[in-house]
Amino acid sequence: MLVVAEREQLPVPQAKAGEPEAWDILFRRYQLPLYVYVFELVHDEQTSLDLVQETFIAAVRHIGDLRDDAKFGSWLFSIAHQKCLQRWRKQSREEVLLDEIPESADESENNPDDLLIRQEQEVEFMNLLDQLPLPQRSVLLLHFVEDFSLEEIAGITGAVVGTVKSRLHYAKKSLRKLLEEKE
């Protein structure tokens, strides 16, 4: 099963030119994945909807700053990530992002489809996802939802590629371990 295998042709230049129809296509494409990402980080529906809206408005206002049109997706997610961080800072919960992991991951595990979940394990999977530390969850969600590359995830989260790689490795490892334990 393919996740987001090929990068689709998105009307980013038209959006830059200010065409509302182009924005409609772009937002339609990203609204649900973006909401999933934000919701799984903040766990509040209204806050997530607000953050998605703020992200979209910021994208409209700052589209001129986007240099590479092909990176629109990761650029949009990086705005959402920053909005989440701002929200946490407002709530004085900065400490949730501070647990770092040593950088020692192997080169495998680049495919988000390598983890397949049975129907009876779905609820369990979501619970396990919630149990992961926030930096790991963030990386894992970006990997699962949009199949972003390590470089793109590093750009979104503001971490170095090595850290992203180790976070992804440990997140997948703990998830797989937890799933195996539940079997």
Partner: protein, 148 residues
């Protein structure tokens, strides 16, 4: 078997309607931004003003709409409270029984007494002022003597 992506997207499918509404609102903002970029001469003053109001609403009020609503609610409560208190005071004033004749008499007596006191002190001052008018030394002394 499902991929994590499929599970995650399915789980949040219920938010799609709300997300559609948000998308439409932001697309309108994008259209406004686009219109704003067009040459100024094409815009009338009224349209520019409407755009400015609309944009400032979307950028200033709308993101903090809950805070603004809460503030508005507080102001409305304060207004209602003030209004109800004023009504109560007016009613209380109206409901007071007319004073009894004895109380009126006592009040007038008090007034009279006060007027007399003020009047007497007023005359005393006048007399004193008279007393201290510059006079020849001998007459002044005599005057003081007779006054006391």
């Amino acid at each position: 078997m499902k991929t994590p992506r499929e599970i995650l997207l399915e789980r949040h499918q219920t938010a799609a309607t709300k997300l559609d509404t948000i998308r439409q609102e932001v697309v309108e903002v994008a259209a406004d931004v686009n219109r704003r970029k067009q040459p100024v001469c094409e815009l009338t003053f009224a349209a520019a003003l409407a755009n400015a109001i609309r944009l400032s609403f979307l950028e200033l009020i709308w993101p903090c709409r809950r805070t603004w609503t809460a503030l508005a609610a507080v102001w409305i409560l304060i207004f209602i409270f003030n209004f109800s208190q004023r009504d109560k005071l007016e009613l209380a004033a109206r409901k007071l029984p007319p004073p009894s004749p004895e109380a009126v008499m006592a009040w007038r007596q008090q007034e009279r007494l006060l007027a007399e006191l003020i009047g007497s002190s007023g005359t005393g001052d006048a007399e004193q002022r008279k007393i201290f008018l510059p006079q020849p030394r001998s007459e002044g002394c005599m005057g003081n003597f007779f006054m006391t």
